[in-house]
Symmetry: C2
Subunit: 340 residues, 2 copies
């Protein structure tokens, strides 16, 4: 059979409680004893049973990541990877809970899963983090959660985000500084908090540069490649087309790139293209996409840190549990000065 705490205690000639203390790195154990116990643990290959521990201690050492990303994009994958790595470091485990909010009954299923696993906390990614009824339910069962880029109700919980508006502003300034004045913009899906912020950043940079933005220069989008093709075509079919297009994420930027190829418009010489996210797809393109690097892995890791901070339960709305991580403007081949 598997080795239990009793076996270790017996062989080491101590009580199970002492073994428990050693395993959990608690104080009040003499070094000599601690070492004896450690040795026996090694010898026997003892691994504490996570279930027994959770059952008696109310802590599960399990964190959940709630994802609603039908496309399972690089964004979600990066988040997950970042959270996973930090969890591993801290001796927690991560349970990923994919959710399809398009289908009925998901909320019940999710709550059942959460309750039966007795999660210690949950990370909510966009657009889930804006579902107020979901937040209500999590609060009702007293489950601490941290939101990634929620964009509203800031004081309701810990959160991690970047300065979306500032980043969009910076990207727009980059395009303007290259000499572009007629710039098209493709929006994201409205359910994401980032959508209005990125647009606002774009508009305010244009405004500040004193460049008017025609209503036909802003088109809707949905964060997908296909949406980018459509948005790109809409912008490029004008008799007088923009010299640059700023898409609200990388996948749409690639769509614009495809639309340009179709219409035989050369990138970047005849059209500059910018994206947002710096996901895996941004690098797998030619020319590579100029974009905003959003440190998704670190954002998820920060969320884990907040969740496992013992102080978090008591003051989830406290400002010290709000992290704004730095973005980075990544200039690649898709943006150059407009040809005269």
């Amino acid at each position: 059979m598997t080795v239990t705490i009793k076996d270790v205690a017996e062989k080491a000639g101590v009580s199970t409680k002492t073994v428990s203390r050693v395993m959990n790195g608690e104080a009040h154990v003499r070094t000599a004893l601690r070492e004896t116990v450690m040795r026996v643990v090694e010898e026997l290959g003892y691994r504490p049973n996570a279930f027994a521990r959770s059952l008696s201690s109310a802590r599960s050492y399990l964190l959940g990541m709630l994802l609603d990303d039908p496309a399972w994009s690089g964004y979600a994958a990066g988040m997950q990877r970042g959270a996973l790595m930090r969890c591993r470091e801290k001796h927690y485990h991560l349970v990923v809970e994919p959710v399809d909010s398009g289908v009925g009954g998901w909320e019940e299923e999710l709550m059942a899963s959460i309750a039966s696993l007795r999660l210690d906390g949950a990370i909510l990614t966009p657009p889930l983090c804006r579902l107020s009824p979901l937040l209500d339910r999590l609060e009702a069962i007293n489950l601490p959660y941290v939101r990634i880029s929620p964009g509203e109700d800031e004081s309701r919980s810990g959160l991690v985000d970047i300065d979306e508006e500032g980043a969009a502003f910076a990207m727009t300034e980059h395009l303007i500084s290259l000499g572009h004045r007629d710039i098209g913009f493709i929006e994201g899906i409205p359910s994401h908090a980032a959508t209005p912020k990125r647009r606002a950043g774009f508009l305010s940079a244009m405004h500040r540069a004193g460049v008017p933005v025609g209503a036909d220069r802003i088109v809707p989008g949905d964060f997908t490649f296909k949406g980018g093709i459509e948005g790109g075509e809409a912008l490029l079919r004008h008799a007088k087309r923009p010299t640059a297009i700023f898409a609200s994420n990388d996948d749409m930027a690639l769509g614009v790139s495809a639309a340009a190829a179709k219409l035989e418009i050369a990138v970047p010489s005849q059209l500059a293209i910018a994206g947002f996210d710096d996901g895996p797809t941004a690098r797998v393109a030619w020319p590579p996409i100029t974009t905003i690097r959003q440190p998704v892995g670190e954002m998820a890791a920060a969320a884990v840190d907040i969740l496992i901070d013992p102080a978090y339960r008591d003051a989830p709305g406290d400002r010290r549990f709000h992290r704004e991580l730095p973005y980075e403007l990544i200039i690649r081949g898709s943006t150059t000065a407009p040809s005269a």
Copy 2:
């Protein structure tokens, strides 16, 4: 406090064992009683504690997915998604265990994690599924596992794969049927079992068509975009360059596409490009890449099915636990007939 089985038993006027029977869908409970219990469960919002159940029953209802994919490509994400969905359906949970086999000590960490979670089974993805010492250790602790595309030691465990060689053969035939005779091939990373199989499929199709393959037409690769650029450049810098290039995966195919753009070779008119996998990147390209669809999600789901089959433990090597799923040739815009 949270509702326990005792609360339900009390309110329903039955023993805890009866509630347990109802919750687990066991026989020997009168319909009337069953319904009463169900009603009380609803009313109280009772959720069984997964830890308590696991502690007393030896089953954890937890499956692990072991991943060693530094790029965290679409392949890994698709696998995970497929496994996750099937687990949800079957009331299991999935714990993802990323592994960086480049770093020392990963094996100990992994084993500790597995042991403490008392996993019911594990899914091994490439290239981990070929690490014989790891398989030895899993067998030593008696943990059932299923491998995805292991390519060797077939009788050692259940496995799920596709006909890699047949798929590469089909792709090559497609290119030949379009009229290509001078075709370049970029290999995958040697640690993956798929690498030699895809090459073999390519070679045998060429051979069958009676087309000789020059040694300089096969170049090494590593499944990355960058590797694809390099491989593509190597093939395209020849005075007489191939009219088509078949890359062992999509990311490399995109790299070839980028290399062609750099060298101002038009795709598909001057160069046809084919990939393999049909990952998310294949569609986010222009022209979209002709490729082989590998049903990664279904493969992972099949692995879950095998693991939770009660008969699997007793005969893991049995042929009925080997699944070969169908691939599909997806013809997109990147392959057309060579221009005369």
